[in-house]
Symmetry: C2
Subunit: 151 residues, 2 copies
């Protein structure tokens, strides 16, 4: 497999692993060094290389990310023994078109005013490294594989 | 409520919130700054102020913790909309009595030799800060509360 084919296969595999997990835990580092996590509604659209979340632009997690952009997003589907760890860098995105493209009523509980909320924004997590555990894999599988990462 | 009573109530509340969640995600910071998480079997014993996990002393997570002890442990029970974030400091514990006290056959899949595995050790996470979300609380509840933390 060449690098591009491997990368595409990696994206498909991650999409499969996180499919159907409606809530992920997003972990950030606070300025004092402590690690915080919180539940975040996942998007319905299929994973294509970046993860997207809706957030309020004035929230604690945004402050933390502007201070230190390294994050982890974890997915747990205990009923089928599926766990995924995504390491990446998060960025605040206020692009109106993207916000409208990704908006769904599932985010309503946290954004009562919906798209009219002046504080509504997106977090984009650019994926650097993924590890997953499932019944078939048994142990941990990491992507990119050591081989791919060395190229 | 005085500080001690509040702390005891906090411990009971956390015990209640994480009860029955068999797998938690443990997030650590790697030397290159990336955040990694992995599923960890939780202990059956009731939470009494510290979290304990079995680990191999030579594992990647132990290296990461020896380098940076700040960790997050997250618990997700999606079926009843319960999520918990525990921020704390992790330490490697090789105390034989404690290992024997906490050992249970549920850890067997990761320690085939059980207590005879020379590499078996514990991680103790001393809890600093907890946040939880549940249906009753609606939003996020943090402990210690700002008031308690200021004392
Ligand atoms: C099931 C669930 C899903 C959530 N989804 C989101 C979300 O998509 N976006 C969001 O900003 N907050 C969401 N929240 C609330 C966050 O967990 C958190 O309380 C809030 O964003 C403030 O976090 P912060 O102070 O760390 O920024 C959700 C909470 C729960 C319980």
């Amino acid at each position: 497999m060449d690098t591009q084919t491997a990368a595409a296969a990696g994206v498909r595999k991650v999409a499969l692993m996180i499919r159907g997990v409606k809530v992920a835990m997003l972990t950030t580092t606070a300025p004092d060094g402590t690690l915080h996590s919180r539940p975040m509604a996942t998007q319905e659209a299929e994973f294509d290389g970046a993860l997207w979340f809706f957030t309020k632009s004035g929230s604690g997690k945004v402050d933390e990310i502007l201070h230190d952009s390294e994050v982890n997003v974890s997915y747990a589907a205990p009923e089928d023994h599926r766990y995924v760890s995504v390491s990446g860098k998060a960025a605040l995105v206020r692009d109106r078109d993207k916000i409208e493209e990704l908006w769904s009523p599932v985010y309503r509980p946290w954004f009562a005013q919906g798209l009219d909320d002046p504080d509504v924004a997106l977090l984009r997590v650019d994926v650097r490294k993924v590890a997953y555990w499932d019944m078939l894999a048994g142990g941990m599988v990491t992507m990119p594989t050591e081989e791919e990462a060395d190229r």
